[in-house]
Amino acid sequence: MKKTILAVLALCAVTSSSFAQDIVLKGKELFGDMKARHIGPALMSGRIIDIENHPTNARILYIGTAGGGIWKSNNGGATFTPIFDEHAQSIGVVALDPSDPDNTVWAGTGEIWTRNSVSVGDGLYKSTDAGTTWKKMGFDNSERIASIEINPKNPEEIYVGVMGALWNDSEERGVYKTTDGGITWNKILYVGPSTGAADVLMDPNDPTILYASMWEFRRTGWGFNSGGETSALYKSIDSGATWNKIQTGFPAGKLGRIGIAIAPSDTNILYAVLETEDPEKNGLWKSTNAGQSWEHLNNDFGLTVRPFYFSRITIDPKDPDVIVKGGLTGSISRDGGKTFQNMGNQHSDIHDVVFDIHNSDILYSATDGGLYRSWNGGVTLEMTEDLPLSQFYHISVDDAEPYNVYGGLQDNGSWYGPSSSPGGVEARDWNRVGGGDGFRVLKHKTKPIIYSEPQGAAAVWRYNTEIDKVTDIKPVPENDEELRFNWNTPLALSEFKEDRIYIGSQYVHKSEDMGKNWVKISPDLTTNDPAKQDKESGGLSKDKSGAETHTTIFTIAESPVDQNVIWVGTDDGNIQVTKNGGKSWDNVTANLVGIPKNTWVYHIEASVHGKGTAYAVFDGHTSGDMQPYAMKTTDYGKTWTNIITDDVKAFARNIQEDYKNENLLFLGTEFGLYITIDGGKNWSHFTNEMPPVAVHFIDMQKKTNDIVMGTHGRGVIILDDISNLREISDDILQKDVHFFSSKEAVMKESGGFGGTSTETQFVGRNPSSVAQITYYLKKRHTFGKMKMEIQDMEGNLVAKLTPGKSKGINIVNWNYQGKAPKVAGGKTISFPFAPRAKAGMYKVVMTKGKKTYEHTFEIKNDPKSTTTDTERAQQREALSNLSEGMENLAYLVYNIEEYKKVAQNVLKQNGAVKQAQDVANKLESLRAELVVTTGDMYVQEAEDELREKMTNLFNDMSTSYDAPSKAQLKNITTYKSQLKEGQDTFEKLQQKEIAKFLKYLTKNEMTPPTLLSKEDYLKS
């Protein structure tokens, strides 16, 4: 028996402890109301891959982007809404079901323009509600999907062209077919593990006819190859059962990427762009017999440039001789491809062009810098200003208030802009500080100097923003030695010496004078493997952009606690550390247990929590390894601990530690942000308004405790004030309710007239400037009452708030406003603005069912304010004085109206009763002096009466941060004496006309008005 009890107790113990563990919340359950904030920018936008327009409704347009998901416009491209925020953000293709284009949308993820910085997808998706929700339809390992073709007569029959993996062999590629709407898929064209489908097309007139271009391609960290024996153009005339090459006329030998198009107005006409071994035969080909034979038309630059990046051909739906080819500028032909002219000015690098369904003068163009629209057939192009798709490689922040965010972008230079701005962060707030592709951008700690760089450190700019002067400070190689700078070259500053700057080639270079003079402080820290130093990258078309320069230093971090400790990570897998400012270096790579050899060291974060403490993040995706890797050392790299768990679902690039709580870490991955509150034992995916976008760099602003993310496709995303996360512990998670120590609430006195943006321009949201009451709820509140009040320390009600009910963290905003006075009724609305509460301590009182929870917090005046405490006291006194008058007026008018109502009833029922008529007339003329009784709320408004004057004065004072003026104080006295006159008149009426009227009522056994006491009236 005893044994049994013990066993039961033991079981109970197990059960309760496992219950306790259940409360280790993850994701949405933990983060509750904490939401990420997007500040763009959208003025330079970012790369767009594919445009899909609706076949019958010209207003509807979908775009698939390189790293920012899918966006939909319902207004012909004027504004867009993101509709794919819960899924992989890199898109290859978007397709509407031709038989149900209003509702059914398919999306293939994974960009198909395979540049070095390209992101990855994770399969095929379908929506049946016009893009509101999506369902995964397979192809988890496809990495990139190029085409989706749907039989217009049978929506169950769909062909998918899978381009497949870029950095490794993979069998999940080729052409697939379903005949059951995507439940099962058959691979119907496959030529090998390194060859994928670049384009699949269906003849719009005959769904049994299909074309497919197969492409052999491969990228490594140090090279790219386009072309091979297995690249080819195929046709099937039996719904994909058999395929034959259609290359009559094509040159022999290897082929590269092939783009194809069918003229919608004559499906025997095909165009193809080719990459071959014979440069003379590259470019545009045409067939007029549905692919039986081909004729070479044109090998102009615009038709042969960078086939891996540009191979889209679009044909005017109404005219088979009007052809547009994507390219550096985009090319347009109006003579069937014989000659081409460049498209009009727009951002370079055109990936797709689509014509409006009704009017071919209107076309849309997808570029590296956003979406453009033309009204004159591509001659003049205007940019859509609503797409914050900016692709940051790197960001940093400064210490200004509000702080600025600095960063460099894919093909869009380097910029900085404020984290908040009056009216929101808009296009005009951003400043350009570098050209080309932009990467690291760093602000000098005290001087008006910004460092920036284009790709491969072709220059390093020291930009003096005060005098608008640019100096190139790139280190000059000594003795003509070749320096290897990564595409994304590391620059780093020092916490100790503000003029110090580091740059990494294969060496670490250091300057103590802002880049004027440099010294090498290391030997070659890379593997210097010549096999990874290919300079003839590209394959059939050479592509020497510098993007493949390898065996370089990629990250440099000087310890914030010891300037002699410097960490270096290289793209070929080395971690090296010096403890003596570069005199000697320890290669600690061999200590990285569990990290595959030569895995790219993407980021090292030197910790503030210890001299020998650092975090390293490794990215193996350019060798086909999609695992996340991050490690921590506390002994200068002698030993490392893995801090990644199965919770993290994508490869990682960056980590940011909290400077206060060593266990709080933020991990930037290919699919968004992960957060750990226990030093990496558990990770939670942060998804509140944070799409699974590639996070390339994270910085932390230490004054505001903001996590600032540079994303590669959705611009800068900020997680405001993460200090609550520092507090979370198991003890807190066990409580029903826990209030977090609120962040300092300061009543900022700023507030200008806002921005200049129009409705069609993106504006980034500002952070909350009001008091935030933050608490944790163990359970979502669904049944019974839950209320929240702000009370002063004596328990007087100051404001009623609506509490959040979510499980997890709730944030309730209080804009510091107390109660507004009650205002008299009239013909119009007279709206008083409640004054701000007085600085000091307050209580939050939250009642939930029968339980009450309290929390105290402080609100403070703006330390920058020019108003004195005495002036504030004067303002409060004046407001309180006027407020009393306004409420007395309201009560007076209430009395007048109640008597008047009864009098009017009598007149209605009993005809012309003198006593009633007298009362009604006199009361109405008194009322007309007190409140507006005619007119409207706009240009037919009546002259202000006492009520309106009082409210206006009240609002002038309550919205001001200053003491009331003498005139304002005088007016209070004037208005109160006018009120007194009104009260006196009413009193006289009460003694005379009203008294008579009441007698009349009594005599006739009629009910007199029932009047509320003033106290009750004010509560009503």
Binding site: T4, V8, L9, L11, C12, T15, G27, K28, E29, L30, G32, R59, K72, S73, N74, N75, T81, D102, N103, D129, A130, T132, T133, L777, R780, H781, T782, F783, G784, K785, M786, A799, K800, T802, K805, S806, K807, G808, Q817, K819, A820, V823, A824, G825, G826, K827, T828, I829, S830, F831, P832, F833, A834, E897, T934, G935, D936, M937, Y938, Q940
Partner: protein, 244 residues
């Protein structure tokens, strides 16, 4: 005693697991059962809700009346003015223009859409099959930090800016009690999320007394009256009043 508790706990766990295999009708049946019973909901003729919206430190009283016939009105009584936010008399949708304080008709499209919803009182899920709606169990999802059943409701197509589109609303029923705590719908590319909480009983039926509507405006319900006496003229658009 401990043994019993443990058994109870295990039993709870045992029955909690099959609950995952839900379908839409089970969730809806449980919802109606948990909130007062299907018959009581069907017998409901009208509701009158008194609510308040807090705006800049002012509490603005709002009244919402809905009837089984499909008529409805939402109005605010403020400083002696009645401001109709939206009313539907079966034919027209109208509201008070806040410049002139006069009633004005809303576009015909709004009226047409309102007519489609006329049979949705008190709940569009009630008799949804007879109304020709479709309902689909989508799966579970975390909303407001808690696990919910996601149910898709497709009603008659509506028109938005002249273009017809599907009327889809996603309802999220908290798995613990099968009452809806959130809805999401979109029209013309705009997504609207409403939340519901503070369910309380009123004469045997449960109503949420706290909501966010129109995509985030908090609405606190002070009281709900079932089958109130209603002056039928309240829904009708008044003739233009004296404009002096």
């Amino acid at each position: 005693m401990k043994t019993i508790k443990l058994l109870v706990a295990l039993f709870v766990v045992a029955i909690a697991i099959p609950a995952q295999a839900q379908n839409a009708d089970e969730v809806l049946a449980s919802y109606f059962e948990n909130t007062g019973g299907m018959d009581n909901w069907k017998n409901l003729q009208a509701t009158k809700m008194s609510a308040s919206i807090n705006q800049g430190g002012m509490e603005i009283p709002v009244t919402m009346i809905n009837t089984k016939e499909g008529k409805s009105i939402v109005f605010a009584d403020f400083q002696g003015q009645k401001i109709v936010i939206m009313a539907f008399d079966g034919e027209n949708v109208w509201s008070t223009n806040q410049m002139t304080m006069q009633a004005e008709k809303l576009p015909q499209e709004s009226a047409d859409n309102a007519k489609l919803q006329a049979n949705d009182f008190p709940d569009p899920f009630l008799g949804y099959k007879e109304k020709g709606y479709t309902v689909e169990y989508v799966g579970t999802e975390t909303k407001d930090g808690t696990e919910t059943h996601k149910i898709k409701l497709v009603q008659e197509p509506i028109k938005v800016n002249g273009v017809e589109e599907q009327a889809i609303t996603y309802y999220y029923f908290e798995t613990e009690n099968n009452v809806p705590i959130m809805t999401e719908s979109s029209a013309g590319g705009q997504t609207m999320t409403n939340t519901m909480s503070d369910y309380e009983e009123v004469d045997g039926l449960y109503f949420p007394f706290s909501m966010t509507v129109q995509g985030g405006i908090p609405l606190t319900i002070k009281s709900v009256e079932l089958n109130p006496e209603i002056d039928a003229t309240i829904f009708e658009m008044p003739a233009a009043a004296d404009k002096n």
